[in-house]
């Protein structure tokens, strides 16, 4: 909650009209969704698998430095593709309409230590419903960081630049712990909960399989290249983790992104929900290669408005969405990756220190809700 509500100039009618205009954009894509889109995701999946196969093949000879470099680069890109353009989007159900049981949110499993079903719950269900609502959306700082002035400061936050850096390096493990709500569940009473234990076991199984594959089986298959292959897979995981962490930080942390109080979403209308997604997300600008490598999460604003539309459509949707931002005089937070990453990190550092509680002007929307 910033001191000045950037949506204060909008009337309730305007917000509902905005909602209708966004619905129309969505309906247009759904009506047009078809063969070309299906061919796109199949092509991406096939390319990812081929790239991973070739890279792992090259790494069998990673004792030779050029092979190590090429194999590691290829594997890093393959892992990024798996998590971003493929895994994240399939698990959102973006491709369920194809009715292909192999490319379906209920069957997909990704190269990640958090099992798909757990991630789907914490991400699709919690984060996407309660985007940027303090106390409801734990993606705001993942429970280990303070990312808004309105969050209470604690001496623990002094170390948050360090926590954030460690989290970036081991991001997939951070996500797994987050999906398990480890912090909350590790107390004596909760850790015995059978439901939690089952989920923790599933994560353990997934970690074992992933670690065995990356750090035992493939290095062993490489024979004399054992150690270089081990280093290569470690590097690829590190690159993938830092990359995805950076992209994801750019989605909601940069300056200019709004957060919301719990009471502000009570009785939220469709238009208000859309507006919250618009004000709570930030984009990354760049080339189409850049958009692809972020899994189109560079179109975070469009993704939050329409999380189940196929990702390959966000670019064309963005043009129309941006026009609406202009029409309704709202700030479309976007910028090149380095700028957005810097902005997010700057915030992490700044808020590691306490701040004066800003004077909050109650936004019009809330006054209305309180009065209602």
């Amino acid at each position: 909650m910033t001191a000045i509500d950037p949506t204060a100039h909008l009337t309730a009618e305007q917000i509902e009209e905005l909602g209708r205009e966004l619905d129309a954009i969505r309906d247009e894509v759904i009506a047009d969704r078809g063969e070309k889109d299906a061919a796109y995701i199949r092509k991406v999946i096939s390319a990812q698998r081929k790239l991973e196969l070739v890279s792992r093949g090259v790494l069998l000879f990673s004792i030779f430095p050029p092979a190590w470099l090429i194999g590691t680069a290829g594997l890093s890109v393959a892992k990024i593709m798996d998590n971003m353009e493929i895994g994240h989007n399939i698990l959102h159900g973006q491709w369920d309409w194809m009715r292909d049981p192999k490319i379906h949110s209920t069957t997909w499993e990704w190269d990640h230590v958090s099992p798909s079903d757990q991630w789907k719950h914490s991400h699709n269900e919690l984060h996407h419903t309660y985007t940027n609502v303090i106390g409801k959306d734990n993606d705001l700082g993942y429970g280990i960081m303070r990312v808004d002035e309105d969050q209470r400061w604690h001496p623990f936050h002094l170390g948050q630049p360090l926590w954030n850096f460690i989290n970036a390096c081991f991001f997939e493990y951070g996500i797994a712990a987050y999906d398990l709500e480890l912090g909350k569940n590790l107390n004596k009473r909760r850790r015995k909960n059978p439901e939690f234990r089952a989920r923790a076991k599933a994560v353990g199984r997934k970690i074992r399989k992933q670690v065995l594959k990356d750090y035992v089986i493939h290095p062993l298959l490489s024979g004399p290249s054992f150690l270089p292959t081990l280093a290569a897979t470690f590097t690829a995981n590190l690159v993938r983790n830092i990359w995805t962490h950076s992209v994801i930080m750019c989605g909601h942390f940069p300056e200019g992104v709004q957060v919301f109080e719990r009471r502000s979403i009570k009785g939220e209308t469709r238009g208000q929900w859309y507006l919250r997604q618009m004000m709570g997300s930030a984009n990354i600008s760049g080339s189409s290669a850049m958009h692809f490598m972020t899994g189109n999460l560079s179109h975070q604003i469009e993704h939050h408005l329409f999380p189940d539309l196929p990702s390959n459509r966000y670019a064309e949707v963005a043009v129309k969405v941006r026009a609406l931002f202009e029409k309704y005089e709202l700030e479309y937070v976007t910028g090149p990756l380095p700028k957005q990453v810097f902005s997010a990190w700057h915030k992490v550092f700044r808020l590691s220190l306490p701040n004066k509680k800003p004077k909050v002007e109650t936004p019009v929307r809330e006054q209305e809700l309180v009065a209602a």
């Binding site: 063969e35 889109d37 096939s46 009715r99 049981p101 209920t106 990704w110 992933q210 594959k213």
Partner: protein
């Protein structure tokens, strides 16, 4: 260690190499028709038969177990990016040298799959297949006298039989609007010229619908013949009634289109379906699979083959009752009861845990 055990151990190791994917996910990239893969086929050619019918030549995967003349195959085709499953009779003989099978498809008005296959399908396209099935087949011992009673695309399973085995005494009555609508007309007339078949064409645009009472004139010994009938429901209903009346019902074999999926029993009016995990409630009729009802309502539904075979869509039924669309069987909610949402429809109000 037996070779099977060895192979399964090697497979386990391969699974560790490819986790979280399966080795087959990679093998499918290079060899989707190999032995051990999910059954698929590749369309190799599409030959027009009439203005609105075409024969699709399919090379089935190695797992194909063959068929018996008269059987049908379920085929999963991606139309506008969406996988849709339909059943079609196999029209190729069982001993076809090159191992290909053919289905002959008539485009029906607004038929998504049939129009796609007849007019848009391209050679090289992969389709999903299921093993051939159906009991609309000739018995092992050749019947002495046979009558084929067909209409429209009902000729397709019979063509599979005609091409497969030569009978000593076969008569066919086939109905189609006009001569040019008769699928396989040239081939049928070759059979007639070779005296392998006696054929009566009924052109319904000029002759009107076939009156089953005319059978006595067209095929005086019809009651002595083992009969295979395939066509629209009206024709089959009339035939079943006629054969029953004359006490020879056991000689009549019928095949209905859309095999399997028939709503039977009473109370097929459907009901209000609650998807309790999502908190959605919608009205459903008694003929729409709950999987479609859920997807229509935006509920994330697990799905698989969409025709009741793979059990990829099983979901707990928390309350109420559902009807199996294939058998009409009613399943009532009990703890632990799972239903296949793709072949179950609401039989009154019900609650699906999704």
């Amino acid at each position: 260690m037996t070779s099977t055990a060895l192979r399964s151990r090697a497979w386990k190791l391969l699974e560790m190499v490819t986790t979280p994917l399966l080795p087959s996910d990679y093998l499918d990239l290079v060899s989707p028709l190999r032995a051990g893969a999910d059954l698929r086929g590749r369309i190799e050619a599409v030959h027009p038969e009439t203005g609105d019918a075409a024969t699709v030549v399919i090379r089935p995967g190695r797992g194909w177990r063959g068929h018996t003349a008269g059987q049908y195959v379920r085929i999963g085709v991606d139309v506008d990016g969406v996988r849709l499953w339909r059943a079609y009779s196999i029209t190729s003989p069982t001993n076809r040298q090159d191992g290909r099978v053919t289905i002959t498809v008539k485009a029906i008005p607004d038929g998504k799959v049939s129009n796609h296959l007849v007019r848009r399908a391209k050679p090289g396209t992969l389709v999903q297949l299921d093993q051939a099935t159906g009991d609309f087949v000739l018995p092992r011992a050749k019947p002495a006298k046979v009558l084929y009673l067909t209409a429209g695309s009902g000729i397709t399973p019979v063509m599979g039989m005609l091409r497969d085995i030569e009978l000593d005494d076969a008569v066919m009555i086939h109905c189609a609007p006009q001569p040019q609508d008769v699928i396989f007309r040239d081939e049928l007339h070759v059979l007639v010229a070779d005296k392998k078949l006696r054929l009566t064409e009924v052109h319904t645009d000029t002759d009107g619908m076939l009156d089953i009472a005319r059978l006595d004139d067209l095929v005086p010994d019809w009651a002595e013949r083992e009969t295979w009938a395939c066509g629209p429901a009206g024709l089959l209903d009339a035939a079943e009634e006629h054969w029953t009346e004359h006490g020879v019902r056991e000689r009549l074999h019928t095949e209905r289109f859309r095999p399997g999926i028939i709503v039977t029993g009473d109370g097929d009016s459907g009901g209000e379906v609650t998807f309790s995990a999502t908190g959605k409630t919608v009205d459903a009729d008694g003929a729409t699979p709950l999987l479609d009802v859920g997807e229509e309502a935006g509920v994330l539904m697990p799905s698989g083959c969409r025709m009741g075979i793979c059990f990829g869509c099983v979901t707990p039924l928390k309350a109420g009752a559902v009807r199996d669309l294939r058998t009409g069987e009613i399943t009532e909610a009990e703890p632990g009861v799972l239903i296949q949402t793709c072949v179950s429809a609401a039989a009154g109000p019900c609650d699906i845990e999704r």
